[in-house]
């Protein structure tokens, strides 16, 4: 039991748990204290000062985010002194800020702009420093843009990259008025250890870190009569998009999303869930093949645990930080890239289209997918497999630009022949989902029976714990798999690279031994991806996860190997998992990188 203490906020007495900050306590009193450097996902920094409040008996104002409540504290959040101070702090922040809101990507969804608007900052009493500083814009990354002239140095990005991702690609460099957010030696983001995960974008309160957007490129393609524009949508998009368009977090908008994409003019609207199912077929087979090579053939060149490879930020992370472990990665491309490779081959052939005229677009909850699509490894169709990657946020912008009343759209369904999916494909969007989907298929392949979990729900791999473990005992396998008799298949799941780091370290040290690990770079998996609607916090991510599992539960088919279009593609095009065509189009290898 936490002890309760009594405090007074704006003359209203309330009881709060001992140790809660004034910001949290104020919420209980129905008061919202403005914040900038504070974020629910991160440790307290207390550097922006917009949250200042007056505490009776104290001369100086205190930062509400960094001050714990004490018994009997009397707090004023809206006194004249507080309001004046707060306004000046915002003015000072703006005096160092390139506040050309109308030219800014964050216009309309910016915490600094909102404060300036709430407090009606309409004068510039301080010397405007922004024009005097030689700011540079880093736009070399295919995933993101860093514009220091929009940075208020709140260090949310630094804390995000360190605390959630354990990457620390960003740091606070120099000091005093020269302090700035920098990479190692101020190299472009594209040249350093940054994984392009976009978590810093999700947590940045301003336009200093944003995704590199491809909205105009996609509009151009849609307007070009000679182009056949195909779009795929990732599993997590359907449980996030609604937040940008007037729905509560956790609302599933699959049908409306498809309808909106059709209205935008895409020639075919299909589903990354299809290629998620395909990934399971390939990766599940790879796992079984590796198990056989290790357990039966004792092949020293085959590595276990097998690590999933669908998270491109994880791929870049392992390339930088654990280059000796690249052989553990599944050779499967991510669902996005499998889809891309098939669009310009299988799909083109089936509908007699010239792949040269196909523009392949994907809607992803992820900024790292932009980088991934741009990788030299991703041209196996003979063309660039995925031409443009848009985030969930960019799609929402296009829907608004097109004047579509999203709330009133009727549900539509995905097009063939890469639009069918199962519940197993959907749960790729949540941490643990790839593992669950793979186990549903692999276990059945090996034993001929369904996974021994009620309703196919493998609960041990679900949830928001940073690292989760599960094991499944294999008994009475089919004759082909008799070598697995009595084997306890050990699995682990990690999300958020800081947790991935601890999992990897335990594997490197030999402390943990697994057969299969699922890694997703972002907290909560793709549903918490760097391209998802802002804001993000644990509560919102939990709601999106519930929506993902509800979507799975509602699907008539919930195992990848049941997907009729998957059966069709194997019979008509790929022949078999890990076959020659698969090998050429759906698998790849990665390269080691430096650790800065």
């Amino acid at each position: 039991m936490t002890t309760k203490i009594k405090i007074t906020i704006n003359e209203k007495q309330i009881e709060v748990a001992e140790g809660s900050s004034i910001v949290d306590a104020a919420v209980c009193a129905g008061v919202i204290i403005p914040t900038l450097c504070f974020h629910k996902d991160l440790c307290v920094a207390g550097n922006c000062r917009v949250c200042v409040v007056e505490i009776a008996g104290q001369k100086r104002l205190s930062a509400a985010c960094a001050t714990p409540c004490e018994e009997g504290m009397e707090i004023l959040t809206n006194s004249l002194k507080v309001r004046n101070a707060r306004k000046q702090i915002i003015e000072l922040l703006l005096s160092e800020h390139n506040a050309d809101c109308t030219l800014c990507y964050k216009n309309g969804n910016c915490e600094l702009q909102k404060l300036a608007s709430d407090y009606k900052i309409m004068t510039q009493d301080f010397i405007q420093l922004a024009p005097l500083r030689k700011y540079q814009i880093d736009h070399y990354s295919p995933s993101m843009i860093k514009d220091d002239s929009k940075c208020i140095r709140c260090q949310r990005c630094v804390r995000t990259c360190a605390e959630i991702q354990g990457v620390s690609a960003l740091t606070a460099a120099y000091k005093g008025d020269r302090m700035k957010i920098a990479t190692f030696f101020e190299k472009p983001m594209n040249d350093v250890v940054c994984t392009n995960c976009g978590q810093c974008i999700n947590h940045c309160p301003t336009g200093a870190l944003v995704e590199r957007n491809y909205i105009e490129e996609v509009w151009d393609a849609l307007a070009n009569k000679d182009k056949f524009v195909i779009v795929q949508t990732a599993p997590a998009v359907r449980v996030g998009l609604g937040e940008e368009l007037g729905f509560e977090p956790g609302t599933r908008v699959t049908g409306k999303m498809v309808a909106a994409l059709k209205r935008l003019g895409f020639d075919a609207v299909m589903d990354t869930d299809f290629s998620a199912d395909l990934t399971i077929m390939e990766e599940g087979s790879e796992l079984l093949m590796r198990l056989k090579k290790v357990l039966v053939d004792h092949d020293p060149n085959v590595k276990l645990p097998l690590a999933t490879s669908c998270s491109p930020a994880w791929i870049k992370y392992i390339e930088h930080m654990y280059p000796d472990y690249l052989d553990h990665l599944s050779t499967c491309k991510s669902p996005q890239q499998m889809f891309g490779a098939l669009v310009k081959t299988y799909y083109a052939k089936h509908f007699n289209l010239n792949p040269e005229n196909i523009v392949s677009v994907s809607i992803m909850p992820c900024t790292a997918k932009k980088f991934e699509a741009n990788r030299p490894e991703m041209h196996d169709s003979g063309y660039r497999d995925v031409d443009y990657v848009l985030t969930t946020r960019e799609l929402a912008i296009m829907i608004k630009q097109a004047g579509i009343d999203f709330l009133k759209l009727d549900d539509r369904s995905f097009d063939q022949i890469m639009g069918a999916s199962t519940g197993a494909g959907v749960i790729f969007g949540a941490t643990g989902g790839v593992m669950e989907a793979a186990l549903r298929t692999a276990y059945e392949l090996v034993t001929g029976r369904e996974v021994p979990f009620e309703n196919l729900n493998i609960m041990p791999v679900r949830g928001m714990e940073g690292v989760r473990e599960a094991s499944i005992l294999i008994e009475n396998p089919l004759p082909d798999w008799s070598f697995l008799e009595g084997i306890e298949l050990k699995c682990a799941v990690a999300h958020g690279l800081v947790n991935v780091k601890s999992l990897m370290d335990s594997i490197v040290s030999g402390e943990s031994q697994y057969h299969f690990i699922e890694i997703m770079a972002c907290p909560g998996g793709c549903l918490g991806g760097g391209g998802q609607p802002i804001p993000t916090n644990p509560e919102i991510r939990r709601k999106r996860a519930l929506a993902i599992y509800a979507e799975d539960q509602g699907m008539p088919l919930r195992k990848s190997h049941q997907n009729p279009e998957i059966l069709k593609i194997y019979s008509e095009f790929l022949t078999e998992p890990l076959g020659e065509v698969s090998h050429h189009l759906l698998h790849t290898h990665y390269t080691p990188r430096e650790r800065f």
Binding site: A162, V167, S168, A169, L170, T171, A172, A173, Y174, K175, A182, T183, F184, F185, V192, V193, E594, R595, F596
Partner: protein, 163 residues
């Protein structure tokens, strides 16, 4: 003089490989190399298992940890008000004139770099400057020329007494 990699390894051995050893190791490298190269910072990050950006952030925070290549003799002249009032500008001009470099620059032969620094704590003997770790006070243009001549004559000689 040992190679940087070996130096870092020795320093890490001496101070330990915890995060808290970062500063002494950075200082140790600067002591020998006069600055922290990109390469040195990457290797320090590797030795302590720290993110390279964090090493860079720390190095750029401290004034006496240089992260750009510096000359063999690093002159830091005090830029604060007492030294200014007691003729620092004339001294600075004398140095610039003699070495043909401006503040922030290094002579083409890599012997001298010129920087300004915050208060050295020698206001009572202003103006003051440092050359590497040696303090020179009560400077005048004549005196500074003499001091620099001493270094210029030493230059190329085998006796390297700078540390």
């Amino acid at each position: 003089m040992v190679a940087v990699l070996e130096l870092i390894d020795n320093l890490a051995g001496q101070y330990g490989r915890d995060r808290s050893s970062l500063l002494p190791i950075l200082q140790g490298v600067v002591k020998q190399e006069n600055y922290l190269s990109e390469y040195a910072m990457i290797e320090i990050a590797r030795a302590l298992n720290l993110p390279a950006a964090e090493v860079y952030g720390t190095a750029t925070f401290y004034s006496f940890l240089e992260y750009k290549k510096m000359g063999k003799y690093l002159i830091r002249i005090c830029k604060t008000i007492t030294c200014s009032m007691k003729g620092k500008n004339q001294v600075l001009m004398a140095i610039e004139d003699m070495l043909k470099i401006k503040v922030g620059e290094t002579t083409p032969d890599g012997m001298f770099s010129l920087l300004q620094t915050n208060c050295l704590g020698f206001c009572h003997m202003a103006p003051a400057m440092l050359i590497n770790f040696d303090v020179y006070t009560d400077l005048t243009p004549e005196k500074v020329r003499e001091i620099l001549s001493g270094y210029l004559n030493k230059k190329g000689g085998a006796d390297d007494t700078r540390i």
